[in-house]
């Protein structure tokens, strides 16, 4: 196991970005806009299954924000490092294994995803939506970041141009952000929509995060499915890294 240099490099870059005010601000602004528009604006006075909409939507937006941030940071870092700056070659000629690279990058994605989405939880407290009641929330939160960081590595390694990661994001990540139970419950959706959605990881992440946030019974099956996604995507990522530059 020698993932630390990979992780450390990403963390140094991350730390450097943090000191740029614009970067920090843009991290906070997008999810806060969603929270204000949907939670405080549209959702004022609405309740879903007896829960205030704000408390319903905070864990949803937390799932969404941790997904996009874990994914895009890593996907961009790898595709640019591979295609433009060739820094990925330095990994390949060094004695670090594909699983070292995978682990280092994925952990960096988790830090990034949790950092960005923690602003949602803070805003949730400030706006009176409350705080996660069940510690399982943390488990699901980390798992969700892991899943999408893995996906970030895979798309970063497969991209043939910088635009590819954006295309992948538009076709997979963005639709998930809206349809996987982030803003509205899926129970009332027609079966032909609900069934395909149940194959997507974010559906289970937002379900678990919401249940843990509200202190309801945690859906063990969903938690297991996210975990399975993580294991499969991690293994796939290692294979994909091994094939880079062939």
């Amino acid at each position: 196991m020698n993932f630390y240099p990979v992780f450390l490099k990403e963390m140094i870059i991350f730390k450097r970005r943090l000191f740029r005010i614009g970067y920090l601000f843009s991290n906070m602004i997008t999810p806060l806009l969603y929270l204000i528009a949907f939670g405080l604006g549209l959702g004022r006075g609405i309740s879903i299954d007896g829960v205030a909409y704000l408390a319903f939507v905070v864990p949803g937006i937390c799932a969404m924000s941790s997904m996009t941030n874990s994914y895009s940071w890593i996907a961009t870092s790898i595709s640019v490092g591979r295609l433009h700056f060739k820094t990925f070659d330095e990994y390949i000629v060094s004695p670090v294994t594909p699983s070292d690279i995978m682990l280092g990058e994925v952990l960096a994605g988790v830090v990034r995803g949790m950092f960005a989405s923690s602003f949602i939880l803070i805003a949730g407290v400030l706006f009176g939506a409350g705080f996660p009641e069940n510690p399982i929330f943390l488990v699901a939160w980390v798992l969700n970041c892991l899943v999408f960081a893995c996906l970030g590595v895979i798309s970063g390694c497969l991209a043939k141009s910088h635009e590819d990661t954006a295309t992948f994001s538009n076709f997979f990540i963005m639709p998930m952000a809206f349809f996987c139970g982030t803003f509205f419950p899926l129970d009332k959706m027609p079966v032909f929509i609900r069934v395909p959605l149940s194959f997507l990881p974010l559906t289970h992440a937002s379900k678990t995060l919401r249940a843990a946030f509200l202190g309801e019974g945690v859906p063990a099956v969903s938690l297991g499915i996210i975990f399975a996604f993580f294991i499969i995507l991690f293994a796939l990522g290692v294979v994909v890294i091994r094939r880079v530059n062939r």
């Binding site: 240099p5 490099k9 140094i12 450097r16 000629v93």
Partner: protein, 277 residues
């Protein structure tokens, strides 16, 4: 130290490297010369485990580059054609992370030593993004030898640098070689190869067309060249001795120049192409 046996690489229908076979001895500086697209970089990339060969075999320090790739990675240093340092990290951080990748001990001391060696100590904590091309290239070489490799791959180490900086890099390369590092260098600067290399191989269309010391290669084509300008086209004639060259030059009248032959003449003689085209 480096051994190639019919090493081949195809990209689709294009054969970039064609059954290349040669050996590089321990302690040697070996130059791989040829025009752009001759297969130099592809050859180096197969030897340093970045690209998988389509056919043939290659060994570095006794280990197969495919079957024992991990072992090879531990023993080699790589300084690629594009400067691939982490631009958002400082010089010190770049070296430190490289040391960690190689599980080195005494990283701090080694980093200071290398920064000193490359004359970068004063700027050690600046971000690479703000470095000049020459400074980046020096740091790239420093990083490639951080873990004290036995074999060093230098792909076009002085491309685009001004003359003073090139000389500085040449000194670094010779210094490393004196310390026992075997070096494979690719270049299309002829004087660089003549000055540094113990032996050179010339590649054309993925094939090795000549191999020997610069002296041997130049002697093989004739030590003297008569350049004459005929109707706006320069013609080159090669001669064994200065007398023969002078005699010929006298028959040509004006617009002639006699000089000693160089590796570029070897190249033109063998391929009909000029290096760098």
């Amino acid at each position: 130290m480096i051994k190639l046996v019919e090493l081949t690489k195809d990209f689709g229908h294009l054969r970039a490297v064609d059954k290349l076979s040669f050996h590089i001895q321990k302690g040697e500086i070996f130059g791989l010369l040829g025009p752009n697209g001759a297969g130099k970089t592809t050859t180096v990339r197969m030897l340093n485990t970045l690209t998988r060969p389509t056919g043939g075999e290659a060994q570095v320090a006794g280990f197969d580059v495919v079957k024992s790739a991990f072992k090879v990675k531990q023993l080699i240093g790589v300084s690629p054609q594009e400067v691939n340092l982490e631009r958002d990290l400082t010089a010190r951080q770049n070296l430190h992370i490289h040391g960690l990748s190689h599980r080195m001990e005494g990283i701090k001391k080694r980093v200071d030593e290398l920064l000193n060696w490359t004359n970068l100590s004063e700027r050690a904590d600046d971000i690479i993004r703000n470095y000049s091309g020459g400074m980046q290239r020096r740091l790239l070489i420093a990083r490639s030898i951080m873990h004290r490799p036995q074999v060093l791959f230098l792909d076009e180490p002085t491309v685009g640098l001004d003359p003073q900086v090139r000389r500085l890099i040449w000194d670094l390369i010779r210094d490393l070689n004196h310390k026992g590092v075997t070096i494979l260098l690719t270049t299309h600067y002829i004087e660089e190869a003549e000055l540094l290399c113990h032996r050179a191989g010339i590649l054309s269309h993925g094939k090795l067309i000549a191999l020997g010391s610069p002296q041997e290669l130049m002697t093989s084509i004739g030590r003297f060249v008569v350049e004459s300008l005929d109707n706006g086209v320069t013609n080159y004639r090669l001669f064994e001795t200065r007398e023969e060259a002078c005699n010929f030059a006298q028959t040509r009248g004006e617009n002639v120049r006699i000089r000693e032959s160089n590796l570029e003449d070897v190249f033109i003689k063998l391929t009909g192409e000029r290096i760098g085209q």
